[in-house]
């Protein structure tokens, strides 16, 4: 069975791109979320093997969402998607429980490397 992914980003463009990269690599994108609140709800409902999480989103940002998810599921495999210059936020996300990060603009190879590490 394919491994399942929840893609969280407020931009449809980014969600589409990440979904494409991951589905071409054989993952099954089982859900998308466009806010932190949705990310938490969908995580609980879908229990995906992997989550990609944008940092800046409306209605609870990605870091809060990581914190919320890890509160009940400390082993959640969450990969942060960050823009350049957000190092402080990435560090915060890691402390909140995120397992790895990729930096935009995305290179598919980089994203998949990070995914491998997270799922290893």
């Amino acid at each position: 069975m394919n491994q399942t992914v929840l893609v969280c980003d407020d931009a449809i463009f980014m969600r589409t791109m990440i979904s494409d990269i991951l589905s071409q690599a054989g993952f099954e994108v089982v859900g998308e979320a466009e806010s932190g609140v949705q990310a938490v709800e969908k995580y609980r409902a879908l229990k995906p093997d992997l989550v990609t999480m944008d940092i800046v989103m409306p209605d609870m940002g990605g870091i809060e969402a990581v914190r919320e998810i890890c509160k009940s599921h400390p082993d959640a495999k969450i990969l942060m998607c960050s823009a350049m210059g957000q190092q402080a936020l990435v560090v915060e996300a890691i402390q909140a429980g995120a397992k790895d990060f990729v930096v935009k603009p995305f290179q598919p190879s980089r994203v998949l490397e990070a995914v491998q590490r997270v799922l290893a």
Partner: protein, 617 residues
């Protein structure tokens, strides 16, 4: 030669050496056979003696000489070490500390001849060892959380080409934490968040895993260039060369940078209006430089909380003797950094809380045994970085707070209305923090009258921080102080209400929503807003400032304030965006409402009031 200008330096350095003395003494007391603590103690006292003699502080020098004499005798085994000797040395270090302070203040007092005679005597004749100085007091055991098994030094270099090397290093640390206890992180975490991190990370890891297992686990993080189990070179990893700077200079620099930030904000606003490309570019450049400078100044003021923590093991030791209790005192997160100005203010509140924990929290050994607990109580002082704040926790495994009794007392004093049936943690802390509130049946000498939570609350609030409590009867209590990283410059959300502008520190803003009359409900006669199934009580800023209820538009911007787990919805007229604000020192005028925490100058040069989030909850 005029020596007075060296007095400040003498004082700072002596204090450091005296702190080192206390540390070494504690260590030595735990392991009387150890050689290293004695040597360190001897060197520290010797240095103080030399400095005092140079300064012409004869009394200090003589006292130090007495202590040095005794230490020399101990070092060479001429007299044995034991409880009596330790007690005497602790006293000597305390007296020396006081003497150093008065001497540096320019009023050297008469030396304590009796103490010197006692030191001299002990250096010749062994004290009645085997007999503790205060026989009734059980020997406290003190240990740092980072003791055995041995903490292994680890140096990691992150690949040069990696993006966000600091974040990668943070992942390495996270992975290491899963293996064991991490300490001594260099550079500190706050530096990893900035881009100047050079890729070299050092830390200690206390774990039962083998070197190979550790290396394999840490390498899975990715982008690890090299990993060795070696000490950081003293001038190498993460620490450059250092100089001592008078704190007042840094304060002045901070103040100037603060004003520069305000001027920069004005310039940015003006150049946006002017529509001149060259001006806009220049203003952008100045903006970036000022931001960088602001970061540098703030970074130079960041100090590890360990500097304030280091006096507490000694305090805990003394308390346990005084109270006849057995207390193990541990510390965690000493490397977490705080702005100097915040750090200077946080010592006393922590001291209060540790005293409370030892005095009111931890039970005497017989009571503990009767309750099925180990005879030795535990107090843990910890620091952790959480968002833009630092959380300081004092946790004890003692008797906890009896909510029933507090509630009874609160009803009697009219703090709680009769319909309040139980005390939430939230209400509890507010009751405890009432001036003079006390339920201590016997007023003990240690924490004095009352529990002093009001003092802690006042100090913490003055710093823009918050105080929370968690307690469970029979299991213990945790007091949590949350303070902002820095006092000087904070990022704030600007809001308008009734034609006035207000700044709300972002550290306490959870989110902004729209106040919609249709989503309003009421909870215990209070208006509340339903946000995603959560009911949040509302406060209309207009009502607070004008005193009368004003009818606002049907939809108004609303700021959700969050302090700890408490939330409130602050309804305003308009939101004006975010800005770095410089918090001006502020003596609150009489009659000022409690929710005003300070004042600032905004980008257009006009003043605005800073709202105190905790006071609005």
């Amino acid at each position: 030669m005029d020596l007075s200008k060296y007095a400040a330096l003498f004082l700072t350095e002596s204090r450091e050496h005296l702190n080192a003395c206390n540390r070494s003494l504690l260590e030595w007391e735990r392991a009387p056979a150890a050689v290293e603590p004695v040597d360190r103690l001897f060197r520290a006292i010797h240095t103080i003696k030399g400095m005092a003699a140079t300064m012409g502080y004869a009394g200090v020098a003589q006292l130090a000489h007495g202590a040095e004499n005794l230490l020399d005798a101990l070092r060479h085994g001429r007299v044995p070490a034991g409880p009596g000797v330790f007690q005497l040395l602790f006293r000597a270090v305390d007296t020396l500390g006081a003497a150093v302070e008065t001497a540096a203040a320019g009023s050297e007092q008469d030396i304590d001849a009796a103490l010197i005679a006692e030191l001299d005597g002990a250096a010749v004749t062994p004290m009645g060892e085997g007999e503790p100085a205060s026989p009734a007091a059980p020997e406290p055991r003190l240990r740092r959380a980072t003791d055995a098994p041995r903490a292994r030094p680890i140096q990691v270099i992150i690949t040069r080409s990696a993006v966000m090397r600091g974040a990668r290093a943070a992942l390495v640390l996270r992975r290491a934490e899963a293996l064991g206890a991490v300490s001594g992180v260099q550079p500190p975490l706050a530096q990893l968040e900035r881009d100047e991190f050079d890729g070299k990370l050092f830390f200690r890891l206390q774990t039962r895993h083998s070197d190979d297992q550790i290396a394999a686990a840490l390498r899975t993080v990715g982008d690890v260039d090299s990993l060795v189990f070696e000490e950081a070179a003293s001038e190498g990893v993460g620490r450059g060369r250092q100089i001592r700077v008078d704190l007042r200079r840094l304060d002045a620099l901070m103040k100037h940078v603060g004003e520069l930030v305000v001027a920069k904000n004005r310039l940015t606003a003006l150049s946006a209006d002017a529509g001149d490309a060259t001006l806009a570019e220049l203003s952008g450049q100045i903006g970036r430089l000022v931001s960088a400078m602001q970061g540098d100044v703030l970074a130079s003021r960041m100090t590890p909380v360990g500097e304030v923590f280091e006096r507490f093991p000694r305090l805990a030791r003394d308390l346990s003797r005084e109270l006849g209790k057995r207390i193990r005192f541990d510390m965690e997160g000493e490397e977490i950094e705080l702005d100097r100005s915040v750090l200077d203010e946080i010592g006393d509140p922590l001291l209060h809380l540790i005293r409370n924990a030892a005095d009111h929290g931890i039970e005497p050994p017989d009571q503990r045994l009767a309750a099925g607990k180990p005879a030795e109580g535990r107090i843990l002082l910890s620091a952790a970085r959480e968002r833009n704040t630092v959380a300081l926790r004092v946790t004890d495994d003692g008797r906890g707070i009896d909510r029933g009794r507090i509630l009874e007392k609160a009803r009697k004093e009219g703090v709680a209305t009769p319909d309040v049936e139980s005390l939430t943690d939230d209400l509890l802390v507010r009751v405890l923090a009432r001036p003079g509130f006390s339920t201590a049946q016997a007023v003990s000498g240690v924490s004095g009258r009352g529990v002093g939570v009001d003092v802690v609350m006042t100090r913490v609030r003055a710093l823009g921080g918050t105080l929370e409590v968690r307690t469970e009867l029979g299991r213990g209590s945790t007091f949590l102080i949350r303070v902002p990283l820095t006092l000087a410059i904070v990022r704030a959300l600007l809001a308008e209400s009734g034609g006035e502008r207000y700044a709300v520190p972002l550290a306490y803003v959870a989110e902004t929503v729209e106040f919609d009359r249709r989503a309003v409900t009421s909870v215990r006669d209070r208006e509340a807003l339903v946000v995603r199934d959560q009911v949040i009580p509302t406060v209309h800023l207009r009502d607070l400032v004008s005193g009368g209820a004003a009818v606002g538009a049907p939809r108004q911007p609303t700021v959700i304030l969050e302090v700890g787990e408490r939330r409130t919805a602050l309804v305003v007229d308009a939101l004006l965006g975010q800005q770095d604000i410089v918090v001006e020192p502020f003596d609150a005028p009489r009659g000022l409402p409690p929710f005003v925490g300070g004042a600032t100058i905004l980008a257009d040069g006009r003043p605005a009031l800073i709202l105190d989030a905790a006071a609005l909850l």
